[in-house]
């Protein structure tokens, strides 16, 4: 599904964000990406989305060398990837339903399909009753659930979540992680960066730890920190 083959990324500023990273993520896996701030977690996700290109090595998604993809093909790669952000990235002047529908409409999905798919996504995240509300009227946890609905409404095979619980209180964080685990159970590959040790320790999923751009640990049912 996702394969990092000796990947290195050096930014123009000279920062080595990743060095010699080898990670293989199989379809349907749930992977926690942990490590201190600046360890390369976000760069890892941005390389999969082709927001960045590797300096060395190859990033493969579904057998495609993402770094070598012509720019015109990048949008089609991104349609296979759902993205969830720490700051939700919702459009404040559009309703919950419009925010979710946005991902379908800008990828040219037929109007006839939009309404049922939005309804399905909102139902999945438990917000069917809030479709007409503006994001400003929702709590942080609810806003993140809208973000997740938008990420899954295109039925991607992979969801990349960058610190999805970073801005949430513990209870809301737990709900969000539970929701991501539920979506994963339906077969969607999940890559989640987090600093939330409790969630990682309770869920006991695969943990890939990065430190200064290198993979220092890769455990199948890992904890946030080595015991």
């Amino acid at each position: 599904m996702i394969h990092f083959d000796s990947v290195g990324k050096r930014y123009a500023t000279g920062v080595e964000a990743l060095q010699g990273v080898n990670v293989r993520i199989e379809p349907g896996e749930f992977v926690f990406l942990v490590g201190p701030t600046g360890s390369g977690k976000t760069t890892f996700l941005r390389l999969i989305q082709r927001i960045e290109q590797p300096t060395t090595g190859r990033v493969m998604v579904d057998g495609i060398d993402v770094g070598a993809l012509p720019p015109a093909q990048v949008p089609y790669l991104r349609r296979r990837l759902g993205a969830v952000f720490q700051d939700f990235k919702l459009l404040p002047d559009r309703t919950v339903a419009e925010n979710v529908a946005f991902a379908l409409r800008v990828t040219g999905v037929d109007d006839l399909e939009v309404a049922p798919r939005v309804a399905w996504a909102l139902d999945t995240v438990g917000l069917a009753g809030r479709a007409g509300d503006l994001p400003g009227r929702l709590s942080g946890g609810e806003q993140q659930r809208v973000g997740i609905a938008r990420a899954i409404v295109t039925r991607p095979r992979v969801v990349l979540a960058d610190e999805p619980t970073g801005n949430l209180d513990p209870e809301a964080a737990w709900e969000i992680m539970h929701l991501l685990a539920k979506i994963n159970l339906r077969g969607t590959t999940m890559v989640v960066t987090t600093h939330n040790a409790t969630l990682v320790d309770v869920l006991r999923r695969r943990v890939v730890e990065l430190c200064a751009g290198r993979v220092v640990r890769d455990e199948s049912r890992g904890l946030y920190q080595t015991a």
Partner: protein, 316 residues
């Protein structure tokens, strides 16, 4: 059902009798709808942008009108420049006509006319009423016959005067000398100045418009960022913004057209009565081209502004 999402059933293009047209319509409709939606959501920003663009276009259009009128007045002044050759007294009428033929053959000459001494005296009397009884004071008409030459281009007046002076039968030549040369230099400077002013105003309008549209796009960078992250193609992101640019530029051009047309019509009417010696171009002569310029500028800059504004947001 979710209120934000259209649930109106639509005919499936595949099943339509005219699948190609329906498909095209299905592609065009969302782009225009998105553009209109975008304009509505950013109402205040868009209103400010349209006002700014309309003002810039009006100023550029006014520059164009001024420049056209200045060129017009200069052309009229230059058209009045003429060279007069005073003829020798012993030249007969037939010789005078031959001379007129050869003068008309000179390069730079538009027309030539023989003015008899009798006609010259009548003109003098008409011009200076106090000399109406000059016939009675003089034993005979002291004025010589002359040839009046109009030049095709005021800048050639000196050369024509030289050529005329060399012709046999011509005694003396007058053409206003330095006055005409100064007039030519002045009208040339005014013409160039007019073009420069119009050009500068157009360039300023262009900068203002591009910048204004860039601001409206910058205000929506998050929308663009999300679009690109969820997999919208560049064309899809660009479409509504370019249509918005066209709508903004078009609306501003419409406002500027109304302002310029009414303003010029009123001004021309007032000038005709208050300043009859100032020969302004009639609205019918100058407004069509001016409005075409305003519309082309408005639409081009609307599209260019959107493209330039989007470029930096579409890089990743």
């Amino acid at each position: 059902m979710s209120p934000g999402v259209s649930t109106r059933p639509r005919r499936d293009p595949e099943l339509s009798a005219e699948p190609v047209r329906a498909r095209r319509a299905a592609l065009v409709r969302p782009v225009v709808a998105d553009a209109v939606g975008g304009l509505r959501r950013n109402g205040l920003m868009v209103a400010a942008a349209i006002t700014t663009i309309a003002i810039a276009l009006t100023v550029a259009g006014a520059g164009w009108l001024t420049s056209a009128n200045v060129a017009h007045v200069a052309a009229i002044l230059e058209g009045q420049v003429e060279v007069v050759g005073f003829l020798r007294r012993d030249l007969g009428a037939a010789q005078q006509q031959r001379l007129r033929g050869s003068v008309e053959g000179l390069s730079g000459v538009r027309s030539a006319e023989i003015v008899t001494r009798a006609e010259a005296l009548r003109r003098l009397q008409r011009t200076f009423r106090s000399m109406a009884s000059i016939n009675e004071l003089l034993p005979s008409n002291p004025l010589p016959d002359s040839i009046e030459v109009r030049v095709a281009d005021a800048r050639e007046v000196k050369a024509v005067a030289e050529a005329l002076r060399r012709l046999p039968g011509v005694d003396e030549v007058a053409y206003g000398g330095t006055v005409v040369e100064r007039l030519v230099a002045f009208t040339r400077a005014v013409r160039l100045g007019g073009v420069a002013v119009a050009g500068l105003l157009a360039a300023a309008a262009l900068l203002i418009i591009v910048n204004t549209i860039r601001l409206t796009i910058a205000a929506r960078r998050q929308e663009i960022e999300i679009m690109t992250l969820v997999g919208a193609t560049r064309g899809f992101v660009r479409g509504p913004f370019v249509v918005e640019g066209v709508l903004q530029g078009g609306t501003a051009a419409l406002i500027a057209s109304v302002l310029l047309a009414t303003g010029y019509i009123v001004l021309a009417r007032q000038a005709a009565t208050a300043l009859p010696f100032l020969p302004l171009l009639s609205p019918a002569e100058v407004l069509p081209t001016t409005l075409v310029v305003v519309w082309v500028l408005g639409l081009t800059v609307g599209i260019a502004g959107s493209e330039i504004g989007l470029r930096r947001h579409l890089q990743s």
